[in-house]
Symmetry: D2
Subunit: 436 residues, 4 copies
């Protein structure tokens, strides 16, 4: 697990003791289902619950070194504790089960816990996006395509777009949580040779999981690869937002800045630096999470009823990806909390393109006035290129072109440069993005 990026709650889910606790919980649920059929006394079950969870971690590690098998080590450790106090439990513990029944069912529980944290993280991010989007509904800036000014855009609408993407990712996580919520207690190669489907159904029901319809020895790994994509897409969303902030913080643009702490230092050489390092870090972490995906997909193709090649991949990637994404969401929340927005600079930058951002309006007014689209396009591009070269305001270039002025009056031309005419759809867009 990546210590540097670990937050306690998420790290706790992937800690070995939580894993063992969940594994025991699976054995327990199965024992309860078995109890009636095998006459296991309720008092023994109670004793098992009380005793089993105490300080298992160390014992299991020691026993695993000997047997080379984690679940067998767990069973031995439990057995040592309960053999006298709960002999029937001891006998029927893990009855008819195979290790993967316990491991994969526990993993489903872990994924559910982890997804819940991520959903909470996202909700906190989304809440801030909503607030910011509303606050900046009328903060106008240059919309940019290809890094070049296109048309004016409301910063609030931009944020509403992020919010809409956040909602999509939350929806994906909810689905992923459901996809992963399948357990398996069907024995060695999934055929219920020792304990029937009704036991599985009952035990999984206690854990809030559904039974895998047809398992091999393991829960098929397409579930996990499906689940994992939700993490990848969540990370990519944060990367997209962070990249925008990095762009906005460039010296020449400087329309927004991520928070810069008191006492913070930007460079060991250059004391003047304020760098968007939080956002850059987010981009790196997204790269990391994304890179894991191919391994997770390769895990699908296990041999026959299973091989164990997926295990080392999952031991590393599942904790690391969850920890990194949890960290990303928390860090991005912090970025939003301290985001400095400079509307006056947005305005200033918008003006730097000399009115060119209104070119489409001029184009369409010429069309409305009867020109063909192609003729109108040529006229407008001609003036635009002149502005580009000479830095003469676009309106002036147009006014100097008789081919334009014979079609549009001075007033009609000037009206094309009115920002107000761009504001009509803002509320609708906020509403569509879920922030209004």
């Amino acid at each position: 697990m990546i210590e540097r990026y670990s937050r306690p709650e998420m790290a706790g889910i992937w800690a070995e003791d939580n894993r063992l606790r969940l594994m025991l919980g699976v054995e327990e649920a199965f024992l309860e289902a078995l109890a009636g059929r095998k006459a296991i006394p309720a008092s023994e079950l109670k004793a098992f619950k009380a005793a089993a969870h105490q300080g298992l971690h160390q014992k299991v590690v020691a026993l695993e070194a000997q047997s080379g098998h984690e679940v067998i080590a767990l069973l031995a450790a439990v057995s040592a504790v309960i053999q006298d106090s709960a002999p029937a439990v001891n006998r029927y513990l893990h009855y008819g089960l195979t290790s993967s029944d316990v491991l994969d069912t526990a993993l489903a529980l872990q994924l559910r816990q982890a997804a819940d944290i991520l959903l909470k993280d996202w909700e906190e991010v989304a809440g801030r996006l909503r607030t910011l989007a509303r606050a900046h509904a009328q903060t106008w800036m240059a919309g940019r395509t290809h890094g070049v000014h296109a048309e004016p855009i409301s910063f609030g609408v931009k944020l509403a777009g992020w919010h809409a993407e956040a909602l999509r990712n939350m929806e994906r996580l909810r689905r992923a949580r459901e996809t992963a919520g399948f357990g398996k207690l069907s024995g060695a190669v999934g055929c219920f040779t020792q304990a029937g489907p009704e036991l599985e159904l009952e035990a999984l029901g206690k854990l809030g999981l559904k039974p895998e319809p047809v398992a091999t020895q393991v829960v098929p790994r397409d579930r996990h690869a499906d689940y994992f994509h939700a993490l990848v897409l969540s990370a990519a969303a944060i990367e997209r937002f962070a990249t925008e902030i990095r762009h906005l913080q460039r010296t020449e643009v400087l329309e927004a800045e991520e928070p810069f702490g008191k006492g913070q230092k930007g460079s060991s050489a250059m004391p003047h630096k304020r760098n968007p390092i939080l956002c850059e870090n987010l981009c790196g972490l997204a790269r990391l999470i994304r890179s894991y995906e191919s391994a997770v997909v390769e895990d699908i193709v296990l041999w026959h009823e299973r091989d164990i090649s997926h295990s080392s991949v999952e031991r590393v990637i599942l904790p690391d990806a969850h920890i990194a994404l949890d960290f990303m969401l928390a860090r991005f929340k912090k970025v939003l909390d301290g985001l400095q927005v400079h509307p006056e600079r947005m305005k200033e930058n918008l003006d730097r393109s000399l009115g060119l951002v209104f070119s489409q309006t001029v184009l369409l007014r010429l069309v409305d006035a009867g020109l063909s689209r192609e003729d109108a396009y040529e006229l407008v591009q001609r003036s635009a290129m002149k502005t580009w070269k000479t830095r003469e305001p676009f309106l002036k270039s147009l006014q100097a072109d008789p081919a334009v002025t014979k079609t549009l009056s001075k007033g009609e031309l000037a009206a094309c440069f009115d920002l107000d005419s761009y504001k009509g759809a803002v509320q609708e867009l906020l509403a569509r993005g879920g922030v209004a």
Copy 2:
């Protein structure tokens, strides 16, 4: 596009003329929505429809070489055809739209068409899996974990597991189709500066698409990356099935074989060879489709309101991945159609493990008879290792161990080796896998 793996229907969807046709369809839908507002005569719309689609491809290619812009080339080509016959259409064609409105909306239509073919492909594969699974419900073979015999399994149940995975992939494709079914007609940076949301809603409605809630200049690429994962997981499923067949066709196993055509030759050097090359090819293609994914995810992080870096990726990967997966599904269907299954060899191989596959039953009968799990495990493993070394049948090894025979009678021991006791859950598993 990958000629070698192209099947006509799927290749047709990604052919340039289909793309242009869909793009024109988008312009047309928008014109129809605009018609009332801009007084475009119905007769002109009719003329547009008739004229526009004729032999566009060549013209567009030529004009694109000049303008360096595909949509502008398309508009010019159309304009040349209709300027006289439909002047109002000519004027209002593409009115207030930006290129990506047309491109991304057309792409949504393409993805929908392509997903429909893949769903049909999968249905044909699933149909064959159902038939085979039912036919082999009582065909028993060694279940194998880690490549080593585990417990007996019904070949039909194995196939039911494949069918369940097929169903999951079909469900994913259906969702993916929905995820991708969002168009966008909101103009330059997605803010409806020239034409309002109601026009978009109306036009997209005609095309059967939903409006992207808050677009940038483009439909956000997380949709496409989400969609794409369904292709990756479908390919991985086929790879899993193909890998199993490759295993079963090994000389020493030979429990199943992919079809080997009349006149086919397996090797230029060794005339005796019958190789599972179809299945190996499927594994390679899955690798190919899987590898594309990172590029598709990277496309999410476009700059500001968009850059066009995603375009070259999509031009190559979207056709290629669909074409390859369509080919894979068709080829796998062919493999299933000609699959040769050798039940007698399955039986023979099952016997080769000398009864060891029944070890769990012995273990649990010892437990039922009162032994602790750990003691029972040790007894059974002891005999198993003896069998492993000496090739003495497992039952015989057990019968020679007084520690065993003092707990289980000869008859009880022999009963552990009865295959019938493994057959109980077959029907239920077939039903759970959707094939019963």
Copy 3:
């Protein structure tokens, strides 16, 4: 193969007829080595050469449909042509060889041809970088870290860094060419069971290749995965350069622009647009080439003496990656040829950071004057933050701080802001980058 990005010379290498020609060349070299030992008349070899290459492609396609095996189809096609005119050749054609002997040896030749084109491409790019770097040795601009002004940098030095990276990539390609230059004529499973190592050595020698020391049925795929990385890193270099140009072309920066053709149109909606679409396209293509890599690495792990899963991957990826990279290098050359550099704007932007880019010099002069590094840092950061907030020139902020002025005189302070003092290492850096 990706038609849109295909340039004739590179596409020609990957065309089927070139492949067949190279395969026949391999058979021919082997026949020549065999000729003495099997008494194949020189006249027959001559007849074979003359006849064999004629119009093979169609015949092979037809025959492959029947035998399901490409090399067998090729042999049959050749055989049909020469069976009467060259009976001894016909008999000994492919004698003791297996298909992969021919396929993999021909592939080595193809890779060598393709690498040669890429090296030529790179040389053309590097030549332009050298010229530009020299021309801009004294063109000063803001060096930027984290997108924020750091210290002044010569544009020529930046280009020299690109040139150094180009040289590294050329070196990698040369090595890759060597790594891939291994053929294999050792028969079915690489054990020379029918024709000895001396024949292989002689035949490969004619083709300019080395023998694979210990092959399986195929040349081991780590060679190809090693080779491929050179393509990936070349593409990433171009992506890095293209990304820089995209940054420099942003409206607010506008220090450089990629060429914009006469008659070119930047947007269907906004006639004023001049977008860095060539460079964006290069970034997308790099993403594409990079994504292929995982499949190429997966190909290493073939089963036993080989399976054929690598074949479909290579059929698609090898042509596509070479074609895309060849296109990238050619396009980037075009970008450099038409690159518009705006030194006056570079100067203007440099001034926009109000002198902050000189902060390190002030820091070190304070240190030289006796302050501890930490104290000096604090002083300089204090003034820098003031400048950041108030937009007061940095020199002025410093001059207003008595803690500074008591250590450095007015003249000493002003001297810190002299660009000339940053120019010392330019020639050395150009020389180190190979451009001086």
Copy 4:
């Protein structure tokens, strides 16, 4: 760092205290180069060396929390220790350097240390491969292509092929070590604005590194991506070998087994199981290392003179990939040490293909006797298919075919089935693989 797979020596290299030690070593080398020029007393340098390394780790962590900058925290921690004992050092510490000078130069040292361990690991693996290959030079088994018997092969030759791949990977690691052995002490944006190239040369010389010809603020990341590929290919090699062992250990094949420890348990459900779990684990780890690569390549494209997005990627991936590969090599060495080879079973399996593995010899003897290749192929395939269907020995099938027997005598036919004729090239292949 992945605790489960960490071996002390490799983990030590990536531990924070080693990193800080190397960073200080870089500062020290630079101070030594600076000493003459800035009159830093030798006694102070000595005091610095003595004091600086003591218990830095905790202090740095604490200070980093405050400044948000690792190198600044390190400098402050050192400064606190030496400000009184070594005032001149304190003043000139880090003089003219930027953080990345220290970080990237230290990273080069770390990579060199790590590569040395991997080379040692590989040498130990290679040594065992040499021994095994020699021991099994005359251990004959079925060569398998597509999982199907092809021709006989010596197990020693197979191992010689592995050894040859090991040698290639060692050569790659040596090159990678060289590629990564470049440091950088050129200041903020790599332009030597405060300290000249001669200082860099001298200081790096002390550390055994070469200077990066033209750096940005950082050592360009193509070096690291180039280096990393050597890890990926090493892992893929081990995966290939491990996959072979997994195949050989299948119940039906059982020609070799990985070691199975005393007290080891293969399954919690099935006491008879002996599974190749070590080799499966190696396959999973290779998947993991391979997956990291895309992130490392993405790191190349930093913005302008650098952004810090690569840092989080490298913090996780560089330790993890080295640790995982070190573990893989050590584990594979253990697998080879305990590898159980069953030559008698190899012989038995070879016989199972009923002589078909000799088909090519029959084919070529028919050709030698005057048949055309195509006619001979058809004859041999005809008998082979008969054998395939009826399980009649191949020699018998051939002897029953008059078309065969009229060309080859009974004795000539029988001679085709002599294993001795396959043994000729063994010594040469061992020699070519570097094991003879």
